[in-house]
């Protein structure tokens, strides 16, 4: 399978690769432009402003509640053509985005993910980096109300987007309805994956306010928890808020 996509941004230098939509498996969480790991770029080639990456992960095809379909097959190839829009910025881009209701005008290195910028530039450490390659879901946030993995979305792609992180679900004192459900069920173990699960659940509930056990299992299936506390997490989301 081969796909082409154009991104009007300067040369994307960070990981020297790009992969197109799809890498993500299952659930309400989707990838925007998925990035391969810096450590696993051996299948990526760069020619001028065109970056070609062969996807090596084995994934499936899943229809998510939000109506988006993820599309990746092993061995598929994605081609991204990059068109510089402001050469004076070099390897950086200017972006405007709204994070948790607050407007930001940022100049960001093109090779850094949205997760990185949220954490290291804005100090929003609630968004966790786990695998950093679109597999574990710890970095899940909402972009325009759809749950995505922010480690596989470049910050420069977020221009004009509305972003919600776990810090934006509530004021931190009075919990949001889904945070309260997690509280009531004590759906936390070590807690590192919890923000990702919360954001995926929030994304699911925006599309399906009364999910069944099977709905929840599917919607959260793109998230890993090495403490293996799925039982409580699933229970917290069943039936909505």
């Amino acid at each position: 399978m081969s796909e082409e996509k154009e991104v009007k941004k300067p040369h994307l230098s960070r990981r020297e690769f790009l992969k197109d939509a799809g890498l993500i498996v299952g659930g309400a969480t989707i990838g925007s432009i998925a990035l391969a790991s810096a450590c696993n770029n051996d299948t990526t080639t760069v020619a001028g402003n065109t970056v070609t990456t062969t996807v090596t992960q084995t994934v499936g095809t899943v229809t998510v509640p939000a109506g988006t379909t993820t599309i990746t097959q092993p061995g598929s190839t994605s081609v991204v053509t990059v068109t510089p829009d402001d050469p004076s910025l070099g390897d950086k881009s200017r972006i405007n985005l709204t994070v948790n209701g607050r407007a930001y005008n940022l100049t960001v290195p093109n090779h850094l993910s949205l997760a990185w910028i949220l954490r290291e530039e804005l100090g929003l450490f609630g968004t966790k980096i786990g695998c950093d390659m679109g597999q574990c879901g710890a970095c899940t946030i909402l972009v325009d109300d759809v749950a995505i993995y922010s480690c596989v979305m470049l910050a420069c792609e977020a221009d004009g987007k509305k972003v919600t992180t776990v810090e934006g679900l509530s004021d931190g004192i009075t919990l949001s309805p889904i945070q309260q459900k997690f509280y009531d069920k004590e759906a936390v173990q070590c807690g590192y994956c919890t923000p990702g699960f919360l954001m995926a659940a929030e994304g699911l509930l925006k599309a399906n306010s009364n999910p069944t056990e099977d709905d929840v299992r599917l919607a959260l299936s793109g998230h890993l928890c090495m403490c293996q506390n799925f039982r409580k997490t699933i229970s917290a989301v069943i039936g909505g808020v």
Binding site: S37, C190, E213, L220, H223, L224, C227
Partner: protein, 757 residues
């Protein structure tokens, strides 16, 4: 059994003290500090299994934009080594502006090696003349042995004998979602390190030694960590981060392992291979066991599973940990024993079949009663033992005896799949009260609320558990006791390591002692206040406390609040150290209350127990196994933090389901190389693999007379799911599936059925 009534402990409504921090993104893990102010470190790893570094050329890396420093074994001799003992051993560190630049730069470092012969297959290590890995002097083996009675005599008594070889059990990576990392910075000649370690004060000691610094100039922090699993006892990362920061003049450096290397080089779990020779009488009673156990990559050696669960008069047991040119292994969750328990269950089921009795019957026949002492010197009793109740609970709740059928017989379901059911139980060393050197501080504040100062991090609700211990002992409401400072080596005493579930005993007993000390001091203040001071001859021994009020025992209407007692009194600190169940004697350990006629102070065993039943349906066309029902019971002693217990228990169950059915092997035995570097490749289970409605959990309470408030540790629960699921598959298809170092996935089931090669 009638258990003492708790006022605070065990209440399901008591939530984790820091749960809102988790849910709102405020919990600060190692990497969650100093936005925009820190540099990042990454590591290059060896590409040979055994040899010596000949040269390192980092010129190209240092010329890369954003790269700040390179460290090797020359700059960091206590944490990096010129000698390579396994593929993937760290060799060169890079510091750069961001982590991705550091990762890219490590590929620009040229390392050459003088390679030596290597050994990467455990079975090869057992052969005469095997290549030496270099990990141990003159050998690859760490042998161990154990003898009880006379096996030759037992052999003469046996009516039935069984000899079986249990192949290598499952191994898997247990990489937490948060990769191993450490953040270090210097201010003058003082070093500050944040690493999510399961042993805060142990980490400090290690850093002191790595840097060869005085302890007063090393300051360690560990508040939250993403997944402990008994494997976050590594402190090498702190040493690396400290040397990296030193190389950039003390600037903060966050060193983080790549996920690929994190997955396999620290925490890949070991597997076990066993041979068993069993002897039994026709009535099913065991008379001897002649066993060998080989452990790949760990010195765990001998499991307590076999020694402390069954009555076996004659035992000979030998084996060894095998150290080859692969990374040493981490502990299993359910620490050492799932692989031993699996091999034991498989062998015992085979013996039951030979005796023509069910797996339930052979276990019931031979299980040690709760009031029986250990069969080995020094013949100690247990503070409490719940394995029998666990076993009967899962058998009863699952309807095991009515559902069991002979292996591979009478098993066809209406949907064409084969039905199977398996049962398992064991005791082991989890939850032992081991904390004689641990200590705690309880601080009573002028407003009558209490703080605990806990020298621990927060893997799986530990400070919350200590709050329960403290509130119950003080006689205060749960909401009046808070976690003060924790995870700070400067302001806390060592509350113990979180590895292996010992923390409940170690930290718990320390804080019970500290709370008793604090309470006595507050009571002394209370008798100076109205109305208690008006009681003639009153002493602190006349007082008790409940719900944050102190009352006169002969007349409970005479009472004051803790707040009133503390009015005008400076903060009061209580200190205490823990005790060990096996300590006994004058050390303050052993039995805290009489048991079986034994006096206080008698040294006893402190162990936990588990039993499990799994019911499965096996599709013989696809090899797929579906869990239809799962019943798990675990012995807790007293439940202290209820939701914490249920989280640990449930997660331990799910983990072993994954070990039984999903985890893939991600390691090349031929070369010692890592061949799986991502979560997807290691086939981690997801929510699609777990149906909460099919999993039934039964925390079985006992009252451990040696433990703080009677509680075992359940930080990593004893769970037998791995063994009982494989037993259930056998019951369905009538053939044992060979784990072959990995989970029993459909391919292996089909192979067992002769439908695949």
């Amino acid at each position: 059994m009638t258990l003492p009534v708790f006022n605070v402990a065990g209440k399901p409504e008591n939530h984790d003290c820091h749960i809102k921090e988790y849910l709102t993104g405020k919990a600060d893990y190692t990497g969650d500090h100093m936005p925009g102010r820190k540099l990042f470190g990454a590591m290059k790893h060896a590409t040979i299994a055994h040899g010596t570094i000949k040269s390192i050329d980092a010129t190209k890396a240092l010329n890369e934009t954003g790269v700040k420093a390179v460290i090797t074994y020359k700059e960091a001799p206590t944490v990096l080594n010129q000698t390579i003992l396994y593929w993937g051993q760290p060799v060169v560190g890079i510091v750069a502006d961001d982590w991705y630049t550091a990762c890219r730069a490590i590929n620009l470092v040229d390392v050459t090696y003088d390679e030596l012969p290597s050994i990467t297959e455990a079975d090869e290590a057992l052969k005469p003349g095997a290549v030496l890995s270099g990990k141990r002097e003159g050998t690859n083996l760490a042998p161990a042995s154990f003898t009880r009675g006379d096996v030759d005599a037992g052999r003469q008594q046996a009516d039935i004998e069984l000899e079986t070889i249990q192949p290598w059990t499952t191994t898997y990576q247990h990489s937490p979602i948060e990769s191993y990392q450490a953040l270090a910075w210097w201010i003058g000649d003082h070093l500050y390190v944040y690493q999510g370690s399961q042993n805060l004060h142990g980490n400090k000691s290690a850093v002191v030694n790595y840097l060869e610094m005085p302890a007063n100039k090393v300051h360690c922090f560990a508040r939250y960590l993403g997944g402990g699993h008994g494997a976050r006892l590594s402190n090498w990362e702190s040493g690396i981060a400290a040397f990296m920061s030193k190389a950039v003049y003390g600037l903060p450096v966050l060193f983080r392992e790549t996920k690929k290397h994190n997955m396999l080089f620290h925490i890949r779990q070991y597997e076990v291979k066993s041979t068993y020779k069993w002897g039994a009488k026709n009535d099913g009673s065991l008379v001897y066991l002649d066993a060998q156990n080989w452990v790949n990559g760990s010195g765990a050696g001998m499991s307590t599973v076999m020694r402390t669960t069954w009555i076996i008069p004659h035992v000979k047991w030998e084996g060894a940990g095998i150290y080859i040119n692969v990374p040493d292994r981490g502990s299993w969750r359910c620490v050492a024993d799932p692989p031993f328990a699996l091999n034991m269950t498989m062998a015992m089921d085979k013996l039951a079949e030979k005796l023509n009795i069910s797996p339930y019957e052979i276990r019931r026949k031979n299980m040690m009663p709760v009031d029986m002492p250990d069969q080995d010197s020094p013949y100690r009793y247990w503070g409490s033992k719940e394995v029998n109740e666990c076993f009967e609970t899962v058998a009863r709740e699952s309807g095991y005896t009515s559902k069991w059928h002979a292996p591979g017989q009478n098993n066809k379901r209406t949907d064409g799949r084969l039905h199977g059911i398996g049962i398992h139980c064991h005791t082991d060393s989890h939850g032992s009260v081991a904390g004689t050197s641990m200590a705690g501080i309880v601080l009573m504040q002028p407003d009558g609320t209490a703080l605990i100062e806990a020298g621990c991090t927060k893997p799986h609700n530990s400070p919350t558990m200590l709050v329960h211990f403290t509130a119950e002992t003080l006689g205060m409401k749960y909401e009046d006791v808070f976690v003060g400072d924790w995870g700070n080596s400067d302001t806390t005493l060592n509350s113990g390591s979180h590895g292996g579930s010992a923390f409940t005993g170690a930290g718990g007993s320390a804080f019970v002692s500290a709370a008793r000390d604090c309470r006595a001091k507050v009571f002394a203040a209370a008798i100076t206040k109205t109305p208690l001071k008006e009681i003639a001859g009153i002493t602190v021994d006349d007082l008790d406390a409940k719900d944050s009020e102190i009352f006169y025992k002969p007349d409970p209407t005479k009472r004051i609040t803790f707040r009133t007692a503390m009015n005008g009194t400076p903060p009061i600190a209580g200190y205490g150290t823990g005790w060990a169940a096996a300590g006994g004697g004058t050390g303050g350990g052993g039995l805290q209350r009489p048991l079986f006629g034994l006096p206080v102070g008698t040294a006893v065993n402190a162990q936990s127990a588990a039993a499990s039943v799994a019911e499965v349906a096996v599709d013989t066309d696809t090899g797929e196994v579906e869990i239809l029902g799962h019943w798990n019971a675990t012995g807790c002693g007293r439940v202290i933090f209820y939701e914490g217990v249920m989280s640990q228990f449930g997660s331990g169950t799910e983990l072993q389901i994954a070990q039984a059915l999903y985890y893939g092997d991600v390691y090349d035995y031929a070369t010692g190389a890592v061949i799986g570097s991502q979560f997807t490749e290691t086939q981690l289970p997801t929510t699609m693999d777990i149906r909460p409605s099919r999993h039934n959990l039964y925390p079985i309470e006992g009252d451990d007379h040696s433990a703080p408030l009677g509680a075992h540790g359940i930080g990593e629960p004893v769970v037998g799911s791995y063994a009982c699921i494989l037993s259930a598959i056998y019951n369905a298809i009538g053939v044992w599936v060979d784990p072959d170092h990995g989970a029993c996935n459909p391919d292996k089931v089909l192979k067992a059925l002769g439908k695949a090669t």
